[in-house]
Symmetry: C2
Subunit: 493 residues, 2 copies
């Protein structure tokens, strides 16, 4: 068995093996890959206690939180096994030859999604399981049939190696060929990885600056490749006047909980809250946030980055510190700033910077027009939330246009919820226009995230025996297909 | 009515109107956009004779060819009307709230595709109708609900204005708001267009150098946007020994016809042909190509570019001129070069350059190993073709691995066909890894091309009245949906 000491390899070894494995993976059956994914999940579950202990030591996250995250991680591995078995993700499409096709006789054309090839996965700091070595990107890539090279995050190196050893062992025991998975470490390997000519696609979850640097490298290649960076978001929350009046304490408590969950180290942390200037909601929020705890951050560099990001706020005389502290103390404490809508609109670029930690900015609005103007000032976001009231949804004047503005800017819009907590489902969308991500068509959470590792290939007039199984007349994999423009379920075998 | 003199506007006018129109388009119903698309098709059909005359004068293509292209153009406008009405392209997905979801209780999540926003369409030179002002990209963008700004190609300026006037008139008569469509002209506008902060997506069909320059600009923006460039391809054709023996004359004639169709000015022109060295196929091909006609090219710059691209071939002493001429004569004549597989493998980078015109390179192979080695040398291609024989497909040793290699490199693989002629269907894939395109996930031909102008948005716990119609419980548009992981057809209204 691979030990954790052997789990990380040099980049050349990793990429050579991945390139070697790619054709076999492209040829592998759904049942085979589903078995690999379940084998990985089973091994991680079997070692849960030790994994959580190690993760807690390295990340300073609580065992409870990490236990939940590991459940999520093995769940998504198994969910992708089901996605692969279902086969709908292949988008199998068959157009039979048609001499009477109105634009002119058409040949037999059959289209299916195929794996792109070796994929790089840049692990995140803040989810040591779910967005790291055996996280969603790795699960989706293996499900698609793409070999994965994970660049470990430096915030949890030991855990990365132990999880990698489990993945390698599970794959070997399940009979996978070498090269399906590899772990590499270090900033230099990370840079060289995205430039490697054998790489076909890369995914990343992290900071705007780090993600943009890798995106620029991916675009600069002689042969550019898709780069799916999830870079950051301030996740604005808009509280209507009616909601503030009806649910003041509930909103204050909900916001404080979402802001401080995981010491604010979530890409979906609500970082900007629009509050009616005339309401007492602000006072209740300050109180709720004061009662909330901070805590240790994931790493020293992340703590330093958090405080550095607050410095420009602290220097402004048009932004007010309501509670907390922008300067380094032993542990960060929940911190709130406030300003008015007109200041926000004047300085949106500066005030929209993400603070990765337990800090947020309250923006006081005085009218529906101001609320909508602020909504228009946001660039691409992962999420945007409305805290509304019964009357609002039944036709309140502002809330329809507000929802439209937010849906035009965000990957996910929420009603009376809080953006932290991203369920892994079919309908999930964790993405959005830049700077939320570098690729607005795609999601990095949920079953649709498999699409990032696939590309379509059409087969024209190809003999049945040479077609991929999903396109053969007999439909041996029983996949849903679009046949001559009509949706069909998989044929019984 | 807009006259052709008024059809082209300055970029600021175009982008301001497009940005203004975007929210209304995102809100428009499928029936509305389907009516717009049909109105455009009807107007173009009604003026077909004059349009074809003008196109023939500007492009030097034959009226017969242009007539067929106009049929294709209005067909695809109407096909996209049906795609929009069907609603499957929305990928509507509903996950009801589930307290027992295995990774933890999930909220109600509903996901649908929404238009990205203002789209740039860079028209191509070689399809004055089908890949130009009212071509496939424009049809797909309007179908998606994205306002379109077309950058006219300088090879057919008058036709571009006349078609634009028709599009504008059809949209106005059908009641579309201003800003759904605009035409801009000139290299400077083209450059400024891709950098405009209001732009959300761009499509391009043209040369590798021109497309890469625009791709680089799109990636360099403070807020990068997706850039779908279709840049070029040499579309290799691999003739097996058995096929050469069985169908020598048919293959020679088919190749000559595909090579010289439209004076070789197709992105799917077969530019490299692998022939068994021991066969007499090469002699038959030379004869067939000698019997084929050249003709005038689309424009002087295209003719100059074609001959310039041949110069490096003419200078090589390891590449042999079989027929034709690499130097400018009044009109280009069909031109064939030949070399052996080992030379090709040594100089693949130089020998893989696209020659946009009636020229191709024959590569003589001596063994299956050589054939497969040559296949591995190709970067991303729009198409790759096997000319095989009965025995090959029933398990000939080379042909299975060869097809796998080609499917791993090309967007479309063909069996015993020729790559020119790209049918507009559900299963079509006109794309491929770089340099065939800058975005391997997407196609620029066929109904799936609508995806380039859409991005997913998830709605969490949103009141039914505020949801987009495709996600409402009553399913008023009757669209197919994935509900709790199960595919459903649209509910009867």
């Amino acid at each position: 068995m691979t030990t954790k000491e052997q789990a990380a390899v040099d980049l050349e070894t990793a990429m050579a093996a991945a390139a070697q494995a790619a054709p076999a993976l492209a040829d592998s059956t759904p049942a085979t890959r589903a078995a690999w994914l379940r084998a990985i999940a089973d091994r991680l579950d079997a070692d849960a206690e030790a994994l959580i202990d190690l993760a807690a030591r390295e990340s300073r996250l609580t065992p409870t939180r990490l236990g939940g995250e590991l459940v999520r991680t093995t769940f998504q591995l198994r969910l992708f096994a089901r996605v692969v078995e279902d086969g709908g993700y292949l988008e199998a499409t068959i157009d039979h030859a048609d001499p009477d096709w109105p634009m002119g006789a058409r040949p037999d054309l059959r289209r299916v999604l195929r794996p792109l090839g070796p994929a790089a996965v840049y692990a995140a700091s803040n989810f040591p399981f779910a967005f790291s070595v055996a996280g969603g990107d790795t699960a989706a890539a293996i499900a698609a049939g793409a070999p994965v090279v994970v660049k470990a995050h430096s915030a949890h190196p030991e855990l990365s190696r132990v999880v990698a050893a489990h993945v390698l062992a599970a794959l070997a025991e399940a009979g996978a060929p070498p090269g399906v998975f590899a772990l590499v470490e270090g900033r230099e390997a990370g840079r060289a990885l995205v430039l490697d000519p054998r790489l076909t696609v890369a995914t990343f979850t992290g900071s705007l600056s780090g993600g943009r640097a890798l995106f620029d490298l991916a675009a600069s290649r002689p042969q550019p490749i898709p780069f799916y960076g999830e870079l950051g978001s301030v996740n604005p929350v808009f509280v209507t006047e009616a909601a503030a009046a009806e649910r003041e304490q509930e909103i204050a408590a909900g916001f404080a909980a979402s802001l401080t969950l995981g010491v604010g180290q979530f890409c979906t942390k609500p970082g900007v809250l629009l509050v009616p200037a005339a309401s007492s909601l602000e006072a209740s929020i300050v109180e709720a946030v004061r009662r909330s705890a901070g805590g240790p951050m994931l790493s020293e560099p992340i703590r330093d980055g958090y405080f550095a990001s607050l410095a420009p706020l602290a220097e402004r005389d048009d932004v007010e510190l309501l509670t907390g502290s922008p300067t380094a103390v032993e542990e960060p404490v929940p911190t709130l700033y406030a300003t008015d809508a007109s200041t926000f609109l004047r300085s949106a670029d500066e005030l929209l910077e993400e603070h990765f930690g337990p800090a947020a900015l309250l923006v006081r609005y005085r009218s529906t027009d101001e609320l909508l103007a602020v909504a228009r000032a946001f660039p691409g976001q992962l999420t945007a939330t409305i805290q509304g009231a019964e009357g609002d949804s039944a036709g309140g004047e502002a809330v329809g246009p507000l929802l439209e503005l937010l849906a035009a800017r965000a990957g996910r819009v929420l009603w009376n919820g809080w953006p932290t907590g991203v369920s892994v489902t079919y309908a999930q969308q964790h993405g959005g226009p830049y700077p939320a991500t570098t690729a607005p068509h795609f999601t990095s959470v949920g079953t649709a995230s498999i699409a990032r590792f696939l590309r379509p290939v059409a087969y024209q007039d190809t003999p049945d025996a040479l077609l991929p199984p999903a396109l053969q007349d007999a439909d041996p994999w029983r996949v849903p297909r679009l046949v001559d423009g009509v949706r069909t379920e998989g044929q019984p075998a």
